[in-house]
Symmetry: C2
Subunit: 341 residues, 2 copies
DNA sequence: AATTTATTCTAAAACGTTTTCGGTTTTTCT
DNA sequence: AGAAAAACCGAAAACGTTTTAGAATAAATT
């Protein structure tokens, strides 16, 4: 409510001088700077971001775009952790974070791009969304600095979890534990799933493992009911797998339930593994074997690179950034090597 | 980038007319309104929120204040669900949501109140934070519309989960299942804990249950290691409880682990219950008995009332709003009545 | 026809900043 | 001491809106 005008009056200087003093410009003396700042604190002055944004075309505000279809937005463990890390990082540089309104409630709703411009975001981070949506594509192709998570666009910064390496590590580990009959219930079709599935097959081939068609099934991510049903199918096979991989940890618990329904023990009778490394997985028994994605790193790198792109567009190298996950061994994959019996 | 000025030029009318046409004011003819709107769409015009906010002192942006101490902000299941519901609700009214930067990284960082003013939030929702923090108190006592979650300030809107009723329902259920030796490991001291603890004692007294001191212990919320240790202590007692209540579901799993460590079965040998109703609790075995907090409702009511307060300050009744939780029976509390044996 | 009333429009100020450019004053150099 | 350079400051325009007060025109009333 107390503006630069008031402050200028109180200091007997011009508004211009006040502005420069507060912004630490070089053409104002140390003495007046000191005076203006003291007075500012005294009167309880603080700037108005709207006016500043209007004038400078910089909002110091970053938008985050995600769609919480089926309750899987903010409550999505992986994404929430990424976002949390992202937020902590940009806060160090004095940015705020705005969740972009993505409801299409009236027919005149803005597109994502329009809304980003409307709010004047300095940059946008995009995650957890259908990347083939035309609105998303338009936003990515605009001149607004953008970073995507787990999806690569041409000539844009992306931070992606190394699903190829993750799946390879997981399969190698399972193989090393003696398993040769490995089933994989994968998630619904998107780029993440594709990376994992192709890595699964590649690794199996390299290891000389044959994967019968009926060992490959599909369920949605976080869909415990789907994995339960698929798991039951797998257990019905005349030659059931000795280990089942799930789309993610959450969905994995659906599979675990199915297995126990059948009176089987984990990992004595059958082994399982998830993907993600959700927090709770390390706190409940059996501790789920999984690939822990480095959400901390993903969020931080996304933030750092987006800010670099915003503040130094010319000197920022635009490329996808890989973040490796880490195998968490847990206790759901049994060692069934001969010598271990 | 195309502004009202451009639009005015293209339409051969004044800027004022354009503004009024787009805002559907009464003193502009239907014909020009139509014309302006058509032209606006044609040129790809959209407003600039900073300019609008500067002029009107309304940002159509709501701040959310929470502190993610110990990773328990966005990744906090209860809060994430509340926030998700909150967001969906305000989006229907065309508001955006900004997570207020609450890092104190340099000594000149703004206070919460200053930041709220700086950004020009129309309102702020406060949750998951130390409500005794002076900065929070200052914000609450300012003239900015505010709603708090799970904490009541005088003369401010609050949406709170009915912990008294929740705990009463839970204890009654446990009692009804035949339990008389009920232990309670409660969370660290705050208003939520106080409600639950006092309700626990009141209900026990009403039921004529004696609660020995050593049945009451403390662990932090979501602290699986703490609950593990406290649980082991309880099991060492010469007269151990037949049922243990935990601070929350997440922490409850720490207790479950401890119990299994000792080779005991749930619920055959000992019963347990949590509090919250986190999603995963319904997907893993054993299904944890708990009080499911109605996060959907809490978020929605907080949003609706905050917006009402923003848009119609005079006619909004200011009072705490109670939201009841629901008993989820799960399968971790055994029926130990004589006839059930 | 003259007056009033209603309708439709515009000019201009204002919101709180930043920035450019020019003008003083002070310091430094010869 | 005088000139050149450096340091410091202010007036004013601009960013994209909304809003007020009034002007111009059209319609309705006497």
């Amino acid at each position: 409510m107390v503006s630069m005008k008031d402050l200028a009056a109180a200091c007997n200087v011009s508004i211009a001088t006040v502005s420069k003093a507060l912004n630490d410009q070089h053409d104002v003396s140390a003495r007046t700077k000191e005076m203006v700042r003291r007075k500012a604190k005294e009167l309880g002055y603080f700037p108005n971001s709207a006016a500043k944004a209007l004038k400078t075309n910089r909002s110091h505000n970053i938008g985050v775009l995600f769609v919480d279809e089926a309750q899987s937005g903010l409550t999505h463990d992986f994404f929430a952790n990424v976002l949390d890390s992202f937020k902590r990082t940009i806060e160090l540089k004095d940015y705020d974070l705005t969740l972009v309104n993505c409801s299409k409630n009236h027919n005149n709703s803005m597109t994502y791009l329009e809304r980003a411009r409307y709010r004047g975001f300095d940059g946008v981070v995009i995650a957890c969304i259908d990347f083939r949506d035309q609105e998303v594509v338009d936003l990515v192709n605009s001149n607004i600095p953008v970073v995507t998570i787990d999806y690569i666009f041409n000539n844009r910064i992306a931070v992606i979890s190394d699903n190829v390496k993750g799946m390879r590590d997981l399969v190698n580990y399972v193989y090393q534990m003696g398993h040769r009959k490995i089933a994989y219930i994968h998630g619904n079709d998107n780029s993440v799933t594709q990376s994992r599935v192709s890595s699964f097959f590649t690794t199996c081939t390299q290891l000389g493992i044959e994967v019968p068609d009926e060992y490959i099934k599909q369920a949605d991510y976080r869909d415990t009911e789907g994995t339960r049903l698929r798991t039951l199918e797998l257990l019905e096979l005349k030659e059931p797998p000795t280990c089942i991989l799930y789309p993610d940890d959450f969905a994995g618990f659906g599979g675990i339930n199915a297995i126990r329904e059948k009176g089987l023990r984990i990992p004595e009778d059958i082994s399982v593994a998830g993907y993600d490394g959700i927090r709770i997985g390390r706190h409940i028994e059996p501790k789920l074997t999984t690939i822990r994605q480095d959400t901390e790193q993903i969020g931080r790198l996304a933030a750092e690179n987006l800010i670099k792109l915003i503040e130094h567009p010319r000197s920022t190298i635009i490329r996808p950034i890989m973040v490796e996950g880490e195998l968490y061994k847990g206790s759901t994959v049994a060692d069934i090597n001969r010598n271990a019996e």
